[in-house]
Every structure is written in structure tokens, then in C-alpha cells.
């Protein structure tokens, strides 16, 4: 049975329809990638699924229960955790406080265990626990937000462009961590502009164009598909229309 089922999801910003009725599903423990050029509607989809935005229409089921339109904090309590685009650490709070906020709804014992695990996953954070998160480098901040997300013991982890603005070497480290998270059995919905990396981690993928799903399939199929290239780099106008 699917962990997450999305049906005919529509997201609007005022007059603009950013997501125009997408359907997809994700099984428990599965890692799926959501691909597409900027403005294709990927972030909007994640915002709607995390409860940051109310979908204009459509149905979302999580773990068999209808969760359409639930506010963000309730989605988070159900185990749906979004790591938003652009990192968004709590800049004036310390790294430790950032991580503890991730486990806001977890009992205290969990927090202690999880903090140790997070520090094991991200050794560089160990020495920076009492630093203000805003003073960290981009890579370290990405570790903080990933660690923060893991502290909530997510059942579904949604990542929005985790490699955005990171130097290639740092991005590689982040991808390794994402891979190990996916391997640990947490379901992952990955939005990432680095298509090869994303499909390397995910087993399946969906391609979004102008708010609609235009292709889907296994990662291998999608990588072999000209469709992806087209979605990102486009064709001349008039072609293929």
C-alpha cells in the first residue's frame, strides 16, 4: 500500500496555477524523485504536501488517512517532514537549539538518542553545537537542516533542492547522507536540480513541466529518456508543440 497518495493536486498563487492537477504515489521506504525545470511546480507541490500552502483542490492521503489541507504543524506531527529550499536554519539560535527544535514533538529521551545519531551522521556539527546557526557555512547549514529533519523521526522526508548553491564537493557529501537516509528505510521525496544525482538515489521519478506530470518511470528509464533533457533545456518554440 502507498504511504503517500496524491490525486489531482492543484496549487495556485492568486491568478497563477503553479500545479495543475498532478497524481503520484510513494510507497513506504521508497525514494522517489520529482524533476523539472525551475517554475515547473516542484516546490509548490512540496509546500502543499507539507501543509505550508493549502491546495486549491485535490486529495492527499498519508498512511491511508486523508490529510488534505492540514496545517504544517499537524503534518509534521504525522511524520511528514519538509526540508525547505534555501536551508532556512534558525539563524539566531544555536546549532543545538536548531536540532532540538527538530525534535519538538518527540519525547526527551528520543531527542538525546537522536542528537547522538545526528552528530554521528554529521561529525562536523559536533564542535559547532553552541555556535549560532546563521554563522555556519552553507554546507554546515545544510547538515543542520537535514539533522533537524531527522530529529523529528520522519516517516516521509521531503527535500527541496538540498544541493542548491553548494560547492560540488559539499553537495556530494550531502547526497551520500541522503542516500544513507533512504537506505535506512525512511521514505524520501527528493526535488533536486542535479538530475543524475537525484536519479542515482531514487528508484523512480516524475518529470514536471508547467505544473503537469509529463513523464514518469524508473530512474534508469528516465535517464535514458530524451524527455528529461527537453524539460530542462527546452526546444525551440514551435517544435513539439
Amino acid at each position: 500500500m502507498s504511504l503517500l497518495e496524491v490525486g489531482a493536486l492543484v496549487v495556485r498563487y492568486g491568478a497563477i496555477q503553479a500545479v495543475r492537477g498532478v497524481d503520484f504515489a510513494l510507497a513506504d521506504g521508497e525514494c522517489v524523485s520529482l524533476l523539472g525545470a525551475n517554475g515547473a511546480g516542484k516546490s509548490s507541490t512540496l509546500k502543499a504536501l507539507s501543509g505550508l500552502m493549502r491546495p486549491a483542490s485535490g486529495v492527499v492521503h498519508f498512511d491511508g488517512k486523508p490529510v488534505t489541507g492540514l496545517p504544517a504543524h499537524e503534518m509534521a506531527r504525522l511524520g511528514v517532514t519538509l526540508v525547505p529550499e534555501g536551508r532556512q536554519v534558525f539563524a539566531t539560535l544555536t546549532v543545538r537549539e536548531n536540532l532540538e527544535l527538530g525534535g519538538f514533538n518527540q519525547p526527551h529521551e528520543h531527542n538525546r538518542e537522536d542528537l547522538a545519531r545526528v552528530l554521528e551522521t554529521f561529525p562536523p556539527l559536533e564542535t559547532r553545537l553552541s555556535a549560532l546557526a546563521g554563522n555556519l557555512s552553507g554546507g554546515e547549514q545544510q547538515m543542520v537542516v537535514l539533522g533537524r529533519a531527522l530529529m523529528s523521526r520522519p516517516r516521509l522526508l521531503m527535500l527541496d533542492e538540498p544541493s542548491l548553491g553548494l560547492a560540488p564537493l559539499v553537495a556530494s557529501q550531502i547526497f551520500e547522507v541522503i542516500q544513507s537516509i533512504a537506505a535506512s528505510g525512511i521514505a524520501v521525496l527528493l526535488v533536486e536540480q542535479n538530475v543524475h544525482r537525484a536519479l542515482g538515489i531514487a528508484s523512480r521519478g516524475y518529470v514536471l513541466e508547467l505544473g503537469e506530470i509529463t513523464a514518469q518511470g524508473s530512474s534508469a528509464d528516465l535517464l535514458a529518456n530524451e524527455h528529461i533533457r527537453r524539460a530542462y533545456l527546452g526546444h525551440g518554440m514551435g517544435e513539439g508543440e
Partner: protein, 263 residues
Amino acid sequence: MTTALTPESLLAVSDVAVTFGGVQALADVSFNLERGEILGIIGPNGAGKTTLFNVVSGLVKDYQGSVALGGIDLRGKSPQRIVGLGLRRTFQNVRLFKSLSVMDTVLAGQHLAIRESVFDSAFRTRRYHRQEGIAVQRAQQALAFVGLGHVAPGDMAASLPYGGQRRLEIARALVGYPKVLMLDEPAAGMNATESRSLGTMIRRIAATGIGVLLVEHDMRVIMSVCDRIVVLNFGRVIAQGTPEQIRSDPAVVRAYLGDEVGA
């Protein structure tokens, strides 16, 4: 790569570098824009396009290198002064004035051109009527130019459908008779038909001699409209050339699709 300041270029960006709190947002960015040319600026999310726009329009003041508009160095000039020198822009998320009518929106775009004093306005002098008459006529031209010539001038800007709002925003910028027009993702939220007619309009704008700087994610628009394209990644220019050259440039493909795993 050092490009000499070329005063004959309409817009000359030379070796611009910007650092935000230890992060290099832009480095060694140089390009020229000529009269009547459409230059596309593309690159993955976070590549530095917005920062570049902000440098040119004067919102980011702390940068290295130089930006010159029509031979005039823009360093230290306020955004409003740069507008006066002939640079106009539109916004990624349309920013219209919600309590102005369609006509008044385009009149507001002529703020710097209308020459009426407070006294003229308060007492409706002959100069007021003369100035307003010219301004309204120019506004009508601009509205017609962007394809809004049939819209009732008294309708509220916000009552237009989305594509119409985008056009109105362009009219507001055009009516200031800019030398350089910067369009920030004008096709965002448009369907294929709308973005095609937008492309045609951008071409007509350039045909009047305006240099157009176009940031856009819709590759169909970029590839079919631009004369030249500058590709940014991690704040650096990784490629520069015609749409044909860019499309097949391996560095560009890598920037967009990422490295092969293990590569």
C-alpha cells in the same frame, strides 16, 4: 577574463564580483548589451541571476568591477537615479499597484517624464492638462504596443487576467522609454500560447532599439527569442553565445542536469 569598459556598448558589465557573508554570489561576470539586442541570462536556481539584476539596478551597492549604462558608471547611484538614466525592470512576481487603474499604472510609469508642479496639479493649470494629455497619449501607445489597447483605461490593474498583468507591467516600464529593459521571468505562470506571444512582443521591443536583458526559466522562450545567452553557475559565467551554441555546450548541460554519478 578581463573585458575593458566599452563605452560604445549600451550596458557594459565588467568583472563584477559580489560576496555575501563569505559566499561568492558573483565572480568575474562580464558581458555587454547592445542597442536592440536581447540577451538571455540563464542558469540553475541559485546561480546568481537575481544578484546580477540587483547589482545592475542598484539594489546591491557593494560589488567589485563596474557597470556602465550608456557610458555612465552606475557605481554609487541610487536605484531611482539609475531608473532616471534609462534602466527599467519588471518583477518575477508581478508587482502592480493594486489601487491604480490600468491607465494610471502606465501614467505612474511616466513619473519622471511628466513635468507638472504641485501647484499645477492642485489647481489644474493649463500646464497640468497639457502634460497629462501627452502622458495619456503615450500611455495609450504603450498599452497598444503590449496588446492592451482594447482594455478600458479605468479598469483596475489587478482585475486583468494574469497574462494581462504581465503585459501591463511591461507597458509601465516601456513608457519610461528605457534604454535597457530588464525582464525578470516574464513567462512564469504562462501557458505555451501566452509565452509564444510574449516572445513576439519581446522581439518587437528590441526592434525599437531597446536593449533587453531577459532572465527566464522557460527555455522555449529563451531559445527562440534571445540573440545571445549568458549562462551563470555558482556565480560565474560558464558559457556565452548564441542559442545554438548554448544548447549543445557540455558545460551548460552539466550545469542543468548535474554530473554523471561518479564523474
